[in-house]
C-alpha cells in the first residue's frame, strides 16, 4: 500500500529537494513498518503527523516571492481582458449595469434596515426607556399591539413607583384636516401628557414646548411642517385651524420610530367616554415608561403582569373572551418591533425579514446571470481557447484569463454600484418620509466587496475549469458527442433556468400586484364613504330618543343601532356553538349586533339562503364566507343548523354577507357574523348619509349631539378614512416588495438581453447567408426566436406550478383573498413573453441590418 497521496505531495511541494529522498524514504520505511504492526489507520495517522512536524524552516525549500507568481503573465492576462472587454462593449456594459444596479439596490435595502436600527438613539437615558405593548388573546387569535388601554396609565402611576416618568401618546381614530397653502391637508395629531418631553426629548428648534400644557389651543409642530407651510421668523403664534403654534421640534420620523405632524394635549383619561376608557379599547394609546436607573426592568414587568391578571379576572367575570399581557419593550428594539401598529417605520421585524430574503434572491439571480453571461462569452470563444491549448497554454493560464475578465468586470460594476448609491441616496433621503442613512459603513462596503469578489471568482473559475478539462480537438469539433454533456447543453440549460427564474418572479409579482389592488379597493360590506359611526357618551334609555331624532334629520337615509364599530371594535371573539352536536367553533367568531335597519345597508352584499323574511320577529345570524365554511359539517350545512353564543338560545343563519370583516383591513381574515335583532338598544349608531349636503347633515348631527350631551365632544368615525389609514402600512410594505421584485425581473431581463446578443452573434454568418438568399426580417427573427419559444414553454411549465404553490402556501391569508385563475397565468406569461420576444427582436435588428458582405468577410 502506498503512502497517503495528499500528504506525500504536500511534503514534495514544501520540502527542500536535497533532503527529500532521505526524508521521504525514512517516512515510507516507517509507514510500512507501522502498517504491518498497527494497521492502516495508525500508519496513516503516524505519516500525517510526521509530515506536519516536518513543516519547519530547516526543511522548507526557499521560494523567492516574486517566483511564486508569474507577474508578467498576470499582467498580460489583465491586458488581454481589458482589450476583450473593450471589443465587446455591449456585453461589458450589460454586465456592469446589471450588476451595478443589483449592488445599488441591495445597498439601499440594507441601508434602509440599518437606518431603521439607528432610530431612537438620540434620546437621553434611552437605556431606561420602554414602550408598553399589549399581547391580546382570544379564541380567534393572539396579537401583539404597540398600544395599551387608556386606563393602564392610572394603574401604572398608582402601583408602579419604579416608573419615574410615564409618557402618553393618544392618537384619535380620525386624523385632523387643515387648510394650508390653499388646500386641505390631512395631518397626524398626537395628544401627549406632560411627561412626554421628559421621556422623548426631541430637539426644540423654536418656542417653548411646555406652553402646550398651559393652554389646550397651543400645539407643537415639526420641522417638516415648518419647512412646508410656514416661515421660521413668524411661525410662533401662527394659527393652524383651531390651534395656535407655540413651538417647533425636529422632524420625529428622521430620528425616532414615531411619525406625527402636531403635538396637542387633548388627553382622554379614565373618565372619558366609555368607548375610549373601556379596557377593551386598545387602539388609541401608546405608553412609554422611563424607569429610575436603580430600579429593575423585571420589577416593573412583574407589576404590569399583575395588573393584567386583575383585568383578565374582570373579563372572565363578565364572560368576555379576551385576556391581556402587558409587555415592556426596550426603546432600542421598538423601531423593528414585531408589534402591530408600530408606527413611523418603514420596516418592522417582519418587513425586514422579507427584505433580507428579497436581497438574497436578488443577489442570487444576479450571480446566476453573471455566471451565465460569462459562460456564454466563454463558449463564444471556443476556437480561441482551442488554439491556445494547441499552442501549449497551461490549465492555470486558461483559468487565469477567464478569471481576470470576470474580476475586472465585477470590480468595475461594484464601483459603479457604490457611485450609484452615493448619488441617489441623498435624493432618496430628501423625499423619503422616513429616516434613511446616506452613509455606508465599512462593514457594508466590505461585505459587498467580498460578495463581488466571490461571485467573480466562481463565474471565472467555472468556465475556466470546464475549458481546461476539454481537449483541444473536442473544442474544434462542431458535432456534439452523443450521450455526453456538451458546452451547448450546459449553455442551453442555464438559459432555461434563467428564463424559469424570471418567469417565476414575474408571476409571483403579478399575483402580489393583483392581490394588493384587490385589498386597496376592497368593497367592505360595512365601510363606505357615506357611512359614519357615532358613539354616545353613555348607554341609557335616552339613546332611543336620540335615535328617533337622528332619523328625522334631513340627509340621513338610514340609522342602524350597531354594537361594535368595524375596524375599531367588534364585540370580541364570541363563543359560537352548533346545536346539532354541541360543538363550539374552534376559532370563535367576531360578532356585530345590529337592528334590522342594517339589512338595507348591507343589501348589495347580502344573499339570503331562501326567501327574505317578511317581518323580523326573532333574531338570526348573517355569516361571512369563512364562518359558513367552518360551521358547515357533514351532519348539517350552516343553513340547516342552529347556533348559540353560549346561552340557551339557538338561532338560525339565514344568509351570507360578502366582504364582512372584523377589525382587520388586509391580513388574517376571521369568521364574522352579524346578529340581527328586531330592536337593539345601544350607545353607538351607524348612519348612512345622502351624498348631497353631507357636511350640512354632519353639522346637524353634531348639533343634536351637543344638545343632548352638552360638554361632550362630538367625534364621528368616518369608516372609509379609517380603512385607508389601516391600509397605509400594508401598502408601504407592498410597494417595497414590488420594488425589489421588479429589480429582480429587470436584472433577469438584462441577463436575457445578454444571452440574446450572443445568440444573434453566434448566428451572424447564417443570417448573412440567409439575407443574401433573400430571407426577410421576420423570417430571420423567427429563426432566432425558435429556441426562445421552447425555452419559454419549458420555463412556463416549471415556473407556473411553482409560483402557484409558493404564493398559496408561503403567503399570508388576506381579508379579500384573490382567487388565482387561469387568466392570471396567461396574462403573466403573456406579458413576460412579449417583453422577452421584444428584447430579442431588437437585438436581432442590429444583426439583420448589418451588411452580409461585412459579416461574411471574416470567414
Amino acid at each position: 500500500m502506498n503512502t497517503p497521496r495528499f500528504w506525500t505531495r504536500l511534503l514534495k511541494w514544501f520540502c527542500n529537494n536535497s533532503f527529500f529522498e532521505e526524508i521521504q524514504g525514512d517516512l515510507e520505511e516507517q509507514y510500512h513498518a507501522k502498517l504491518k504492526k498497527d494497521g492502516k489507520h495508525a500508519a496513516k495517522a503516524f505519516y500525517r503527523k510526521e509530515v506536519i512536524f516536518l513543516i519547519r524552516p530547516s526543511v522548507i525549500k526557499y521560494i523567492p516571492f516574486r517566483r511564486l507568481v508569474n507577474w508578467a503573465f498576470v499582467l498580460h492576462a489583465f491586458k488581454a481582458s481589458f482589450r476583450n472587454l473593450k471589443k465587446h462593449r455591449a456585453y461589458s456594459l450589460l454586465n456592469i449595469v446589471g450588476f451595478a444596479a443589483a449592488i445599488s439596490i441591495c445597498l439601499f435595502c440594507v441601508n434602509a434596515i440599518y437606518s431603521n436600527q439607528q432610530l431612537d438613539q438620540k434620546f437621553e437615558d434611552k437605556e431606561f426607556i420602554y414602550r408598553v405593548n399589549t399581547m391580546s388573546t382570544n379564541s380567534l387569535n393572539t396579537s401583539l399591539r404597540a398600544r395599551t388601554p387608556i386606563r393602564l396609565y392610572e394603574r401604572i402611576k398608582e402601583e408602579i413607583p419604579e416608573a419615574k416618568e410615564v409618557a402618553i401618546i393618544q392618537s384619535g381614530a380620525m386624523g385632523f384636516e387643515a387648510f394650508l397653502k390653499g388646500s386641505k391637508q390631512a395631518l397626524q395629531v398626537f395628544s401627549v401628557n406632560e411627561n412626554f418631553f421628559e421621556v422623548l426629548n426631541y430637539e426644540v428648534l423654536y418656542g417653548n414646548v411646555n406652553d402646550i400644557f398651559k393652554n389646550k389651543s397651543n400645539v407643537v409642530i415639526t420641522k417638516e411642517m415648518l419647512d412646508k407651510y410656514f416661515k421660521p421668523e413668524s411661525v410662533i403664534g401662527q394659527e393652524l385651524g383651531p390651534y395656535i403654534i407655540s413651538a417647533v421640534i425636529e422632524t420625529p420620523a428622521k430620528v425616532s420610530h414615531l411619525d406625527f405632524d402636531i403635538l396637542a394635549t387633548d388627553i382622554k383619561d379614565k373618565d372619558a367616554l366609555a368607548f375610549y376608557s373601556s379596557w377593551r379599547t386598545i387602539m388609541l394609546q401608546q405608553l412609554y415608561i422611563k424607569r429610575y436607573p436603580e430600579s429593575k426592568e423585571e420589577t416593573i414587568q412583574a407589576k404590569l403582569t399583575a395588573i393584567a391578571k386583575e383585568v383578565n379576572k374582570e373579563f372572565e367575570g363578565k364572560d368576555i373572551d379576551l385576556s391581556y399581557d402587558f409587555r415592556l419593550e426596550p426603546l432600542k428594539d421598538v423601531a423593528s418591533s414585531n408589534a402591530d401598529m408600530n408606527q413611523g417605520t418603514l420596516l418592522g421585524a417582519g418587513g425586514q425579514r422579507i427584505i433580507w430574503i428579497l436581497v438574497a434572491i436578488l443577489l442570487g439571480v444576479c450571480s446566476f446571470n453573471y455566471t451565465n453571461l460569462a459562460m456564454a462569452s466563454a463558449i463564444a470563444r471556443t476556437k480561441e481557447v482551442a488554439v491556445r491549448k494547441v499552442m501549449g497554454s497551461l490549465k492555470s493560464a486558461l483559468v487565469l484569463q477567464f478569471l481576470a475578465e470576470t474580476i475586472i468586470l465585477s470590480l468595475i460594476a461594484y464601483l459603479f454600484g457604490l457611485i450609484l448609491f452615493k448619488w441617489l441616496a441623498p435624493k432618496f433621503a430628501t423625499f423619503s418620509e422616513f429616516y434613511f442613512n446616506t452613509n455606508l459603513s465599512l462593514n457594508q462596503v466590505a461585505i459587498f466587496f467580498l460578495f463581488t469578489l466571490g461571485m467573480s471568482l466562481i463565474s471565472g473559475i467555472i468556465p475556466g475549469l470546464i475549458f481546461s478539462n476539454i481537449s483541444a480537438l473536442q473544442l474544434f469539433r462542431k458535432t456534439k458527442k452523443q450521450g455526453k454533456l456538451s458546452l451547448m447543453h450546459l449553455k442551453k440549460g442555464m438559459i432555461v433556468i434563467q428564463m424559469t427564474i424570471g418567469l417565476f418572479v414575474f408571476i409571483v409579482g403579478y399575483f402580489i400586484y393583483n392581490q394588493a389592488a384587490l385589498i386597496s379597493k376592497q368593497d367592505n360590506a360595512l365601510v363606505n364613504e357615506d357611512y359614519i359611526a357615532v358613539q354616545l357618551p353613555k348607554y341609557d334609555s335616552a339613546n332611543i330618543i336620540f335615535k328617533n331624532e337622528l332619523q328625522r334629520i334631513k340627509g340621513i337615509e338610514n340609522v342602524v343601532t350597531l354594537e361594535g364599530i368595524p375596524l375599531l371594535q367588534t364585540l370580541g371573539a364570541t363563543y359560537f356553538e352548533k346545536q346539532h352536536n354541541k360543538e363550539p367553533l374552534r376559532s370563535g367568531v367576531e360578532l356585530f349586533r345590529a337592528d334590522q335597519n342594517i339589512l338595507k345597508l348591507i343589501d348589495p352584499h347580502l344573499k339570503w339562503f331562501s326567501q327574505k323574511p317578511e317581518q323580523i320577529e326573532t333574531p338570526f345570524f348573517l355569516a361571512n364566507r369563512l364562518l359558513i365554511e367552518q360551521a358547515s359539517d357533514t351532519i348539517k350545512n350552516i343553513r340547516e343548523g342552529f347556533y348559540s353564543l353560549g346561552n340557551d338560545e339557538y338561532l338560525p343563519v339565514l344568509g351570507s354577507v360578502d366582504n364582512l370583516f372584523g377589525n382587520q383591513a388586509a391580513l388574517d381574515p376571521v369568521p364574522a357574523a352579524i346578529l340581527i335583532y328586531p330592536e337593539v338598544n345601544s350607545s353607538s349608531f351607524y348612519l348612512e348619509l345622502s351624498p348631497e349636503g353631507r357636511s350640512e347633515t354632519i353639522d346637524a348631527v353634531a348639533k343634536l349631539y351637543r344638545d343632548h350631551y352638552p360638554g361632550a365632544d362630538f367625534l364621528p368615525f368616518f369608516l372609509d378614512d379609517i380603512l385607508t389609514k389601516n391600509l397605509g402600512s400594508f401598502k408601504n410594505a407592498i410597494k417595497a416588495i414590488l420594488f425589489v421584485l421588479s429589480s429582480i425581473i429587470v436584472i433577469t431581463l438584462m441577463g436575457q438581453i445578454g444571452m440574446s446578443m450572443y445568440m444573434a452573434r453566434s448566428k451572424e454568418k447564417e443570417i448573412g447567408i440567409r439575407k443574401v438568399l433573400g430571407a426577410s426580417f421576420n423570417q430571420i427573427v423567427n429563426l432566432i426566436l425558435r429556441s426562445t419559444y421552447i425555452q419559454l414553454i419549458i420555463g412556463a411549465l416549471v415556473a407556473s406550478p411553482l409560483a402557484y404553490l409558493f404564493y398559496t402556501n408561503a403567503g399570508p391569508s388576506f381579508t379579500v383573498q384573490m382567487q388565482i385563475g387561469i387568466e392570471h397565468f396567461l396574462i403573466g406569461l403573456g406579458l413576460f413573453s412579449l417583453v422577452i420576444i421584444g428584447l430579442i427582436t431588437v437585438q436581432t435588428w442590429g444583426t439583420t441590418n448589418a451588411q452580409p458582405a461585412e459579416t461574411l468577410r471574416n470567414e
Binding site: E29, F53, L54
Partner: protein, 109 residues
Amino acid sequence: MKGTYLGEFQELVLLSILVLAEEAYGVSIQEEINQKTGRSISRGALHSALTRLEDKDFIRSQFGEATPERGGRRKKYYQITNLGQKSLDEAKAIREEYYSTIQLKTQNT
C-alpha cells in the same frame, strides 16, 4: 573548547550514532533514541538536529542502498567525526566533574 557546544538533544543524537555504528541512519537513530530515553521524537526534530550537527562538522553523511520498503529511495548513513567525538568527550568530562563535586559535598555533610 570554543565552538564545540553541544545541546542535550544533539548529544543524544551523537551517542545514538556511535551506538549504531554503521547502521546509523534516520529511522534507526530515531528508534534508538525512542527506546533509550522513552521519548517519542519526530523525524522533523531529528532532521533539524542532524542538519545542525552536520553544519558544525560533528558528523558526516553518505548515501547507502535503496530498498523497496523505502520506495526505491536511498538511505543516508551518518558517522561521527573527530570533532564530534571531541565535543562528546568534553561534554562527558564536564558532567563527571559536576557529579564528583556533588558526591564530595554529600559525603562532607
